[in-house]
Subunit: 236 residues, 4 copies
DNA sequence: CACTAAGCGAGACGGTACGTCGAGTCTTCCG
DNA sequence: CGGAAGACTCGACGTACCGTCTCGCTTAGTG
């Protein structure tokens, strides 16, 4: 659970610089005795909240390190000590907030209802502050390689894994049979595509009809794809 | 065909100075004959190309008005005279370049092949410079209201109309019957969603399998939705 | 009566061959055929007044060619056609306005009263718009060679001549004898020095006592300097 | 001795942060101990010298904040941090340089010689860089209220006090009696008027004869004004 | 307990870009 | 040709943040 991509991040959790960068790993334990005060958790939270608030209030460009520091009542250098950019801060925010909001709550009910509920949850997520953060980061990632990479290898990868797990469970409950990985992968894109498309491109929650239709289609496809002729499996 | 969202835009295309300053609004067309030198088209193009190049080379944040002016070999003030921001310039770029790349070329062939070809064209578009521009603008629009609005009411609205027309034609050719508007609308989102999702979120071209599957699903749905029992119709 | 120091100035006067510079007076009327409309006198006045007004309202830096043109309701290029800078315009203004305000009105009364009246007139001049113009130009001349030169060789030289004439007349009436040039010159500086000093340095009208004292001193000095022993004569 | 009219000025000379931000005015002296790096004196001097040099080389209009910053090898923002305009900088320059150049060096010799020496010193001052600065500021003050005010309430007031002290000392030595304030004041204007007049209006050092004559007149007047009938006292 | 390494607030500094203003030149069209 | 209109280049304005740095205080282990 790397909440910060910053170099110093680990120092917060582990007092003795541990797995950091492998190279200067040698004479570490001996030399670095690490005295002095610990990183203030309240500062960390103040910064994350300040960033979040500013993003919601003023948009991505309205978020500045100086603004965050000012609003968090913290010195600029303190921010730079722990994060290397505002993107870095927002990634932390995301990690803290988004996981729960996008979790698959496996209700025991019927698969279709559960799937629709999950879609509605995701659609709602984009309206919340944490959703704004994701949108901002995805937006920035469109033209910033570093952000794209960090998102892809961090939050997006993990989220996709959670989604795959969740969706597979639903599909298997629905079809009563195991569903192969590639199929789930494709179906996940079919499922999420229209949702993200509406959120990111049309800046509007998808119509309930679209959500329902999508959910039904996916379940339908799972049944059919999964059927007798397995050679028809789709891919990524 | 507003290629510039700037106040003066119309003067270029329309000879009669339109929405300029509101005060002397009266006897306009007659009195103000607009003397003096005309806007230089070569400068306009130089600026659009400079912006495009910089975007591709350095990303959205690497695009600055000063940078554009410098690369276009033009004074900064000249840029500000015609565009009010870099977003405004990129919107112009988009209008000039994207329409063609996303046009539905109605091949007489079978509907499925045509649909797949169109999807492939769109997927390819995101790899081109003009696609980069769209991605950048969509990205910026995530947290900038003004950009979001301009995109939505300009390029996106027009493009969606063209897409609706194109998709309807394909569907009707495929089903052999007229297809109601709401259905086309929903199907368009089903069709484009996964595509945009892959491009914007995963920064990767969608797998051919996904494209094919999506195309097939949509045609399939059109047939079924369109069928005898009209109560099953999907919506926006 | 050089109303404009601009290169193009002749074009105006050549049209109406006037009293301008005496040298090229010959082949004037014959050679210059001069077609097209004549320079508009109303525009000239509009520009001068606009400049004057702006100076009084906004100070020297508030005077801009564009501002003048706008207020005069004239195209910028028209201003540039006839004057080469705002200084040039203000010099014109000065020539038109200041002469009268600073004229020595030879009252037949006693010399001391006349001198004091003249001093009061000069002191009052600095409060008027034309006085503002002179102050502005003198101010600018402190660090601008071209302005300094133009002022010195134009208005200041002429004004000093008029002052010398006026003062000599007064002194001779007072002493009843001719007064040598160098003496008048020195006394003029003694007379005007404190006045200009108060106006330019302390930005305040000189106290009446100072004016009176100065006037009396100068008359006194004229009597004494002028006296039997000529070795005591002062110089430039 | 305020060498800078800028808000932060006091922090340099006085250790206790003075008039900075008004809000946390309470427990000031105790709590806010002003940490962080101190203002760089070398930068301050580099800026003042750069301004001075540019003024001499290029005139008042040739002095720009950007030019100063560039020549001083300093970031523009650093200049703006400490001075709010180029006038502000020049005022600082003046305070640093002019005082000494215009000081009354009380030689024990006879009063007339001392007075003449002082006049010659002042005349010489206008030829030096610091004199250029004063001329430039006086020039600018002709049409800029803020500059006029700053000069009047700062340098000019202080200098006039020093001059009054110096002149009174000379006069009292000369006459052997105390000289009343109003008399000294008037005589100072009589003394300096022609000098400043020559420097500011005619841009030329006053003729030695004028200096000598002025010095003699003033001493003469002091003797006479000061004489038996005290009702004759002059004023400002 | 003193030492010392960090955390931290404060802010100076060199930069880059912003968006605006005016200067002065040039171009086009009208009368 | 005079003049209106205004496009254009250029230079400076004053501002906002950037990211780095230096100071001096405070705080918590460790020796």
């Amino acid at each position: 659970m790397p909440e910060s991509t910053c170099r110093n991040a680990h120092e917060r959790t582990i007092a003795i610089p541990a797995d950091r960068n492998a190279e200067p790993a040698a004479s570490r334990t001996a030399v670095v005795s690490r005295t002095g005060p610990k990183r203030s958790e309240s500062i960390r939270l103040a910064v994350l909240h300040a960033a979040d608030d500013l993003l919601v209030e003023r948009g991505f460009n309205g978020v500045t390190i100086e603004g965050i520091a000012a609003r968090a009542g913290v010195a600029k250098q303190t921010v730079y000590r722990w994060w290397k950019s505002k993107v870095d801060i927002l990634l932390d925010t995301l990690a803290d907030d988004a996981r729960d909001a996008l979790a698959w709550r496996g209700g025991g009910e019927d698969a279709e209802a559960e799937l629709k509920a999950q879609l509605r949850r995701i659609a709602g997520f984009f309206q919340q502050p944490a959703g704004q953060v994701l949108r901002a980061l995805l937006g920035h990632a469109q033209t910033d390689q570093a952000t794209a990479r960090a998102l892809r290898e961090g939050f997006l990868r993990e989220q996709r894994e959670r989604d795959l797990l969740g969706l597979r469970a639903v599909l298997e409950r629905h079809t009563g049979r195991p569903v192969p990985e590639p199929t789930v992968d494709t179906l996940l894109s079919v499922l999420l595509g229209p949702l993200y498309y509406q959120a990111l491109v049309h800046d509007a929650p998808p119509a309930p009809e679209l959500l329902d239709a999508t959910a039904r289609h996916v379940l339908d496809l799972a049944v059919r794809t999964d059927a007798p002729k397995p050679g028809q499996a789709a891919a990524t």
